[in-house]
């Protein structure tokens, strides 16, 4: 079964998915540190499975 875990964000009427990392101008989210973040981070949340 396909691994659909990752950071997800719904914005601009669409879902964005980052299974490994998110690099933004002011923050970075890494899969390895997913349990350390205070979600949501700029709309991003970690999901173990695709949320939609």
């Amino acid at each position: 079964m396909e691994d659909t875990s990752g950071f997800y964000r719904y914005d601009e009427e669409q879902w964005f998915w980052a299974p490994n990392a998110v690099y933004a101008p002011t923050y970075t989210l890494l899969k390895e540190l997913k349990d350390t973040y205070d979600y949501p981070v700029d709309g991003w949340r970690w999901y173990d499975e695709q949320p939609y």
């Binding site: 964005f16 998915w17 980052a18 490994n20 998110v22 933004a24 101008p25």
Partner: protein, 383 residues
């Protein structure tokens, strides 16, 4: 200058079947119609044709009979297989047939339409090969002509061409026409269900909406496509499952590329796309799973990119100058250098936008400096 010109890209790649009666050479200076028609041993052989205009013409039916006419009503010619002296041939389904050469010559006036459609008339559609040059006329093919392998018209006048004018030529291999198109209101679906042709360059100088022009055709190759004045150009090549190569595409005034190449699963290569005015790229290349490279001249005005590159699994390289809206390259085939080029091409949006480069071969190789190219321009990069 013609508004629209289509020419078979490589007509020499089509081999004219041996045994068909030959067609004399003509040029654009001539006014002449030659058509090779199949006469079957065990079928009715009723050739229907109808003309429009004010004219007087002579039709040589190719069986030693002729007709001189000024009539604009239906003309039916019934052939007798046994009376023909041309060689007996066998088609792909084992049926015997002979060929005749139909020759039409003008006497006075102007024919404006050769109507091969005639959906309500009882007849057969056995045209095999047509070569004509008639500066005042255009053809109408609405009824299916499954045996027609070549249609060449060296000069003509397509001012009245409407949707479905040249459709249902499912096995046409060479298609070469000059279209002096003062297109009436749109250039929609004129060529729908065209066969596996290699089409040459096309130029449309008018500002008409061009939609679904080649949708669902079996064309395999296309030259340069230029329609720099049209503002709507949606779905022109949608669902062309056999289309593998297309040259440069100039759509400089078009705001909508919606579904432009949707579902072209065989499309491998496309030239530079002049895209100065485009705002909508929705599904433009969606499910073009063989496409390797796309080069836009500018995407600075784009506001919608939804599914533009959905399932473009083979996309190795793309140029997106000035793009400032979120875009998704999930599961494309770009290496690090090509991803960096994309980052360099991106414009600077007023608010943060997201570029998805997840599961590309080069995604894992991107360095912090590479990613900074995008993030410094207000982009979020997802890996």
């Amino acid at each position: 200058m013609s508004d629209l010109y289509i020419q078979a890209g490589s007509p020499t790649e089509w081999t004219r079947p041996g045994g068909w009666v030959s067609i004399p050479s003509i040029t654009s200076a001539d006014t002449k119609f030659y058509g090779v028609y199949a006469v079957y041993e065990t079928r009715k052989n009723i050739l229907n044709i109808q003309f429009a205009g004010t004219f007087n013409i002579t039709i040589d039916w190719g069986d030693t009979t002729t007709l001189t006419t000024a009539s604009t009503t239906l003309i039916s010619k019934t052939y007798t297989y046994s009376a023909l002296t041309s060689p007996i041939l066998v088609d792909d389904y084992g049926e015997n047939y002979k060929t005749v050469l139909v020759t039409i010559t003008p006497n006075t006036g102007s024919v404006t339409l050769f109507n091969f459609g005639l959906p309500t008339a009882i007849g057969t559609q056995n045209w095999l090969d047509i070569v004509m040059s008639w500066s005042t006329a255009r053809p109408f093919f609405y009824k299916s002509h499954p045996y027609l392998q070549r249609f060449i018209q060296y000069t003509g006048n397509y001012a009245g061409a409407l949707a479905s004018s040249i459709t249902l030529l499912p096995n046409c291999r060479v298609f070469q026409v000059p279209l002096n198109l003062g297109l009436p209101s749109s250039a929609t679906q004129i060529f729908t269900y065209l066969g596996a042709c290699e089409v040459g360059d096309m130029i449309i100088n008018t500002t008409v909406a061009i939609t679904s022009l080649f949708t669902d055709t079996k064309i395999t190759k296309f030259g340069n496509f230029t329609s720099s004045a049209a503002t709507t150009t949606t779905s022109i090549f949608a669902n062309c499952a056999n289309l593998r190569f297309i040259g440069n595409v100039n759509l400089a005034s078009s705001v909508s590329f919606g579904s432009l190449f949707l579902n072209n699963s065989s499309l491998i290569k496309i030239g530079t796309i002049t895209s100065t005015a485009v705002t909508n790229l929705t599904s433009a290349f969606s499910q073009c799973g063989s496409l390797r490279e796309v080069t836009f001249t500018s995407l600075a005005n784009v506001v919608t990119v939804t599914n533009a590159f959905f399932r473009c699994f083979s996309l190795q390289k793309i140029r997106v100058p000035g793009l400032v809206v979120s875009v998704n390259f999930l599961d494309c085939a770009m290496e690090r250098a090509e991803l960096v080029q994309v980052f360099n091409d991106l414009g600077t949006p007023g608010t943060t936008r997201t570029i998805t480069v997840t599961r590309n071969p080069g995604s894992a190789d991107l360095t912090a400096a590479d990613i900074l190219i995008a993030t410094s321009k207000n982009w979020i990069v997802t890996l």
